[in-house]
């Protein structure tokens, strides 16, 4: 086994020169596009979805950048995608419509999909036309994913799916769900016997999507019920009963990206805008402390991205980024509240900082839930370090 020192090593990630030219192009694009969005709208970042915006990104060639050229991608490395991702997040662009497809569904399909799936789906992902959702959690399976009950049964006509997925982000606007379903009811151990399916949410009879209001009053996650929903053999993604491992392979990139520490970037910027107009010496230290955290997390995230581009196994380093990033994002609204002492206020005529603070204060609890709860992450870290 590798030593702890090697496992926790974060070599600095270097972005290639070409990525910096790309960065400038993205900034120029955003300088124009972002004018139409208020600070409050920008504060949603990857929780905000706007198909028109995603299609513009697609037209620029900035979606599915790591996908092969023959399917509409750019055949670039994960580092170029990283630059586009962090620029759009920092600006608070409404990237939610393409985020999941661009980050993980596209790359997953490219890696293990059939020729038909690739030819059909990847070009649409690259154009920003298609929103994907991920069906994992269920009413009785949150963190305990291996206890999933929804199942897909092979029939003469295809796969018959029954069960309920819960907390499925964007299912109400998505064309597709990549869902994890039990295909071998007798498999041992418990996490064996799952398969992934690409399900057409709009055109499959027996699929019902019910939006769930979150505590801010907004609808972005859903309950998706499958009642004898029949999908064709083509819907199977990858290998039958290999779903658990396939899902695991998506996680490093899902957990280590810039979205794990930039969810509150708009809040930080709005705070700076207020403070740079005054002369509040006491706020300086807090600002510096936030910035030190931000720069540290970026160095970690970029390090993981560099190693991913080299094809290294970075699952542990990625989990650590997610854990620390969530803690940072989650505490930021409270710190801002302490610095400026304003009341969070969502009303239209409130100051932008008060609006953004209000929204992110309420969204913050989700930061340590989505993508793996902090308890699960710490369990994984301990296990990977050989502790347990």
């Amino acid at each position: 086994m590798e030593s702890i020192v090697d496992l926790l090593r974060y070599d600095p990630g270097q972005l290639p020169a070409s990525a910096e030219n790309l960065r400038q192009d993205v900034r120029d694009f955003l300088a124009v596009e972002m004018k139409q969005y208020s600070a409050l709208t920008r504060a949603y970042t990857w929780d905000g979805a706007d198909q028109t915006f995603s299609e513009k990104m697609g037209a620029k060639g900035w979606l599915g950048m790591t996908l092969p050229k023959e399917y509409g991608g750019a055949g670039l490395s994960n580092l170029e995608r990283y630059v586009v991702a962090e620029e759009t997040l920092f600006a608070g662009a409404p990237v939610g419509y393409h985020w999941i497809a661009d980050r993980q569904s596209g790359p997953l399909i490219a890696r293990i999909g059939t020729e038909k799936q690739k030819a059909d789906l990847l070009p649409r992902i690259c154009r920003g036309e298609t929103c994907f959702s991920i069906g994992m959690s269920e009413p009785n399976s949150g963190s305990d994913l291996a206890s999933l009950q929804s199942k897909a049964v092979r029939t003469d006509e295809g796969w018959l799916i029954n069960g309920t997925k819960l907390w499925t982000t964007n299912a109400h606007i998505a064309s597709y769900m990549i869902g994890l379903f039990r295909t071998d009811l007798n498999a041992q151990p418990k996490h064996a016997g799952f398969s992934q399916f690409i399900i057409d949410l709009k055109n499959t009879p027996g699929v019902t999507v019910r939006p769930i209001e979150d505590l801010t009053g907004r609808k972005h996650f859903n309950e998706v019920v499958f009642e004898n929903a029949l999908v064709s053999d083509d819907a199977l993604l990858g290998t039958e009963n290999d779903g658990w491992r396939q899902v695991g392979s998506e996680l490093a990139i899902e957990r280590s990206g810039p979205e794990r520490f930039l969810s509150c970037a708009v809040l930080f910027v709005e705070l700076l805008k207020v403070l740079e107009q005054g002369d509040d010496q006491s706020a300086k230290r807090e600002i510096g402390s936030i910035l030190a955290n931000l720069v540290t997390l970026r160095s970690m995230s970029l390090s993981v991205s560099g190693k991913l581009a080299q094809g290294d196994d970075v699952s542990l380093q990625a989990v650590i980024v997610k854990d620390l990033g969530a803690e940072f994002e989650q505490t930021l609204p409270g710190i801002v509240q302490k610095i400026v002492g304003i009341e969070p206020n969502l009303s239209d005529d409130a100051e932008p900082l008060a609006q953004v603070l209000a929204l992110l204060t309420m969204l913050a609890p989700s930061f340590s839930l989505r993508g793996g709860t902090v308890e699960i992450l710490r369990g994984i870290i301990a296990k990977r370090l050989g502790i347990s």
């Binding site: 702890i4 020192v5 926790l8 090593r9 974060y10 070599d11 600095p12 990630g13 270097q14 972005l15 290639p16 020169a17 910096e20 960065r23 962090e86 920092f90 910027v269 700076l272 805008k273 403070l275 740079e276 706020a283 300086k284 230290r285 807090e286 600002i287 510096g288 402390s289 910035l291 030190a292 955290n293 931000l294 720069v295 540290t296 997390l297 970026r298 160095s299 970690m300 970029l302 390090s303 380093q317 650590i320 854990d323 620390l324 308890e375 992450l377 710490r378 369990g379 870290i381 301990a382 370090l385 050989g386 502790i387 347990s388």
Partner: protein, 350 residues
């Protein structure tokens, strides 16, 4: 990782793991200077890692130096090796000849007084950077005839005071007047990152050996989560310290503290200093009462961390410095400065 880095990490780890154990550290705290260990590091050329090959050094870069400096923290090495590495680099930027033997960095000089000089009594000379009317200089102070008032930090490492700084020579240099202070902060952040690793390693081993309620401590979920938190802190300190050293290679000192390596150093030392409470508290908590005894080795690491976090500026100082950088750049330019820090300018030029 470069070949030099990998080779250095291996030899540093081997040397210090072999020589610097609990008995050695206990003995050294009583007797003072670890002359033999110093000679062994000199045989490996460690203090000259950054000196150009033409000048008799190893010709390594700051990323290589990081492995040594981190190792000095991880093994609680009681030597001014990090200070000497920086001093030799500073002197290598001038026309001054570096003396043989251990060197140190002088945190500040007030008239003819200098306080809290690391390893002052053991060093042959000390360095600092200063501003003069004709430009910035590296000031080299010969310690041969200097009388030190002995003080120590919490880990009993010498932190000596002296007055009558007289025997000195200056060399012109193209780095900021604050460079020696910044580089002092940078090595301390790397040493703290090394200590964090040691605190984690010790806690991991101990929790796998100690049994209570019929099972090893590491079978308790609370303990596992504390170890995971300790590991994430250690990981983050490795990342940001390594990043600061790499930025020294990639960007270095330029005209503007807001956009050169000083930004990265301020972030590294601010984080490192701020994390000391957490890493020490977690490791001590996991060790229980035995870790609070002098007999156990844990305190050789925690006592160093508790002092190092204040040396060359504590978390407040560096957070304030970063706050100045952030407000100086303003909301419009800050992000651009953050992303520019990751760029290897030499590579970009190719």
């Amino acid at each position: 990782m470069s070949d030099i880095s990998s080779m250095l990490e291996d030899s540093v780890t081997r040397l210090f793991r072999d020589k610097v154990d609990r008995e050695f550290l206990q003995e050294q705290e009583k007797t003072g200077w670890a002359a033999q260990l110093w000679e062994l590091t000199e045989e490996l050329g460690l203090s000259s890692v950054l000196v150009k090959e033409d000048n008799g050094g190893v010709g390594g870069d700051w990323a290589d130096a990081y492995e040594i400096v981190k190792g000095c923290g991880r093994f609680a090495v009681p030597l001014p090796l990090p200070e000497t590495i920086v001093a030799r680099w500073l002197l290598d930027q001038t026309n001054l000849v570096a003396p043989e033997g251990p060197l140190t960095l002088i945190p500040s000089i007030d008239g003819s007084d200098a306080k809290r000089i690391p390893w002052g009594r053991n060093a042959v000379a000390g360095c600092t950077t200063q501003v003069t009317d004709s430009g910035n200089i590296v000031r080299l102070v010969d310690f041969t005839d200097v009388v030190f008032t002995h003080e120590v930090n919490l880990a009993k490492e010498p932190r000596d005071n002296c007055s009558m700084i007289a025997n000195l020579c200056d060399g012109d240099v193209n780095v900021p007047a604050t460079a020696s202070f910044y580089l002092g902060a940078m090595i301390r952040s790397a040493q703290i990152s090394g200590v964090a690793m040691a605190l984690l390693e010790q806690a991991t081993i101990y929790s796998g050996e100690r049994s209570q309620f019929g099972r090893n401590l590491n079978k308790f979920q609370t303990v596992q989560h504390n170890l995971a938190r300790l590991a994430t802190a250690a990981a983050s300190l490795d990342s940001i310290s390594r990043f600061a050293f790499a930025t020294m290679d990639n960007v270095g000192f330029k005209d503007d503290a807001k956009t050169d390596v000083r930004f990265a150093i301020a972030a590294a030392k601010s984080r490192a200093s701020e994390c000391v409470d957490l890493i020490c508290a977690l490791s001590h908590q996991i060790h229980g009462a035995i870790g609070f005894t002098y007999e156990h080795s844990l305190h050789f690491y925690s006592r160093r961390a508790w002092s190092w976090r204040s040396e060359f500026g504590g978390s407040s100082y560096w957070a304030n410095t970063l706050g100045d950088i952030a407000l100086g750049l303003g909301s419009e330019k800050l992000w651009g400065a953050i992303t520019a820090l990751g760029i290897n300018e030499t590579k970009t030029a190719n």
